[in-house]
Symmetry: C2
Subunit: 343 residues, 2 copies
């Protein structure tokens, strides 16, 4: 029965794909066999991330981008991982009706992820759903996320090209958004650019990007902090970036009036060419594989450890109660469970 | 040497606490022995979460709340887990100077968390830092978070009382913020209530709270979706809540002018009494212990599994490369590693 979902997905069957994605969203272990069967047939779709804070107009922009991709003859999957999105959270508020322009287009497959499991399941589920759409044969998978919080940053890193959507007049918020996401955005769009302050927002983004060289290259937060400190102390700047470094463009758009979409699509295409020319596409694939493997491993490990814990020490809630009463030592417990794995 | 940090923390030594928290933030394994030594001496502090989207004025409100707590004679720890906050991310932009009102008050200990590790380390680090402040003898630990994203929601659940800060005129954003955080907020504050639209925001929040009964009680997202569907289809409503259910107040404030703070402090005190009267404080302690144990277990397990993986299959990056080339099967690899734990 499981095998039939995978073969349905490979045949492009929307109902099979929907059912599998629902299982993924429900963290149903039955999804794993299908995902495993699909895996060798994935890796072809181009993954486009669209991220930005609530109210930035991401969904409208996504809608317009999807229309352009369709006009180019590409098949598209849209995955909304965003409680704001009319694709997903909107449903809670009863306005799922907004933005159903593509509902009748069989070349567009739209699904939202509701998973809010506390086991870090969101990035795992997102990776799995991207693979389902990929295996269905979608040319492009658009992933829409809020862009704040670690999970969302992990998810943005699953994309080949990440578009950050900002809006004018957010003041300090501009800075806030990018504190985390700055390092993973490839194209910046100031949406609602007909509002006052659009040019100021562009300038602010440009200033943030100047900090990006200091933020980007090295591996750890620790390094990064030290470099920022050096910078703040007026130490010499980093050497200029190598010529195969991408310079993220900052564009303006009014998605609601379909303005600024051509330059955006061109920038996305340019970034795609850049990734392929420099070999960075393969590097991103590897980073994505790493991320998805870690997410998968993390959730399987935790489940195994909890099964073992429950077999040996009783239900997790009882263990938590002993910990909260300071009768059990969580560090010792966790170390024992982890050590059992290491030997 | 490690033991000396723990004993320093227990003696209230700010430098020892700072050093330990820096180790936690750097994910330095040397922190574990100290945390383990401190653990039996934790569980006394009251944890107050202050959450809301960027630009809501959380930091100013936090500042005012801290001033009130100090006026009541309580010692306070402030933990900023928010790239927006002048306490933390502000540093990147060079405005750490903003809001140093409490810098010279030895009864207030302020630290920010910069951790952005991709291994889900943020909630673990937050839990550990709360415990350090608790062990230092702080009466109240205030945790300031952005309130969007799964990590932030996990963190909000570590608090005894969670205050959600909203602002007028956010339109759709209001809905966005609460899609995830609604279920964990105990007190709502519309800050900047001198701006147009404050009453409308209060009304919108009230409408959201009406949905809360449908969202709150049961365990899984799956149940929740089904209940929402039933609701949308006009099925009969849930029975009324039991009388020991907390009705979250919706308050107005202008933190920058120190207005509305008395009702807020009263609401926080009322919620604290409610938790104690109904036995829900112990329940929250248990939920917090559960969350923190899972975060700890997850990060230790992942580390053990990666050590083993590297010993057996080579460096993670090489494994990721094979996966990205579809030469290795991530599901099979993860299952093998997890199964080794289960046996």
């Amino acid at each position: 029965m499981s095998a039939s979902l995978a073969s349905g997905v490979l045949a492009g069957d929307v109902r099979a794909a929907s059912r599998l994605m629902r299982r993924i969203d429900d963290e149903d272990p039955a999804a794993t066999a299908d995902l495993q069967a699909l895996f060798p047939r994935t890796g072809r779709a181009y993954v486009l991330g669209i991220t930005g804070s609530p109210g930035a107009g991401k969904s409208t922009l996504t809608d317009r981008v999807v229309a352009r991709l369709r006009a180019e003859g590409r098949s598209v999957g849209v995955l909304a991982v965003d409680p704001t999105s009319p694709f997903s959270g909107g449903a809670i508020l009863g306005d799922r009706i907004r933005m159903q322009a593509h509902a009748s287009d069989p070349g567009v497959f739209i699904r939202s992820l509701a998973t809010r499991g506390s086991l870090g399941g969101l990035s795992r589920a997102t990776g799995d759903c991207i693979r389902v759409m990929d295996a269905m044969g979608k040319d492009v998978v658009v992933v829409e996320t809020v862009g704040v919080g670690q999970d969302e940053i992990d998810i943005a890193q699953m994309a080949h090209t990440t578009v950050l959507v900002a809006v004018p007049g957010m003041g300090d918020d501009i800075q806030a958004i990018k504190a985390g996401i700055l390092e993973v955005a490839d194209v910046f769009v100031v949406n609602k650019a007909d509002l006052d302050g659009a040019d100021r927002t562009v300038r602010e983004l440009r200033q943030m990007l100047e900090l990006r060289h200091a933020l980007r290259a090295p591996a750890t937060d620790h390094d990064r902090r030290h470099r920022l400190k050096a910078r703040a102390a007026g130490k010499p700047a980093e050497p200029p970036p190598p010529s195969d470094e991408w310079e993220p463009p900052i564009l303006k758009a009014v998605a609601a009036r379909d303005e600024g979409l051509d330059p955006l699509m061109a920038a996305i295409a340019r970034h795609r060419e850049f990734l392929e020319r420099t070999g960075q596409r393969a590097e991103r694939e590897r980073a994505r594989a790493r991320m998805q493997f870690l997410a998968l491993l993390r959730s399987l490990l935790l489940q195994s450890a909890l099964d073992r814990l429950e077999a040996e020490k009783g239900r997790l809630d009882e263990v938590a109660l002993s910990i909260s009463r300071r009768e059990a030592d969580p560090y010792a417990l966790a170390q024992t469970l982890a050590r059992q794995l290491a030997t």
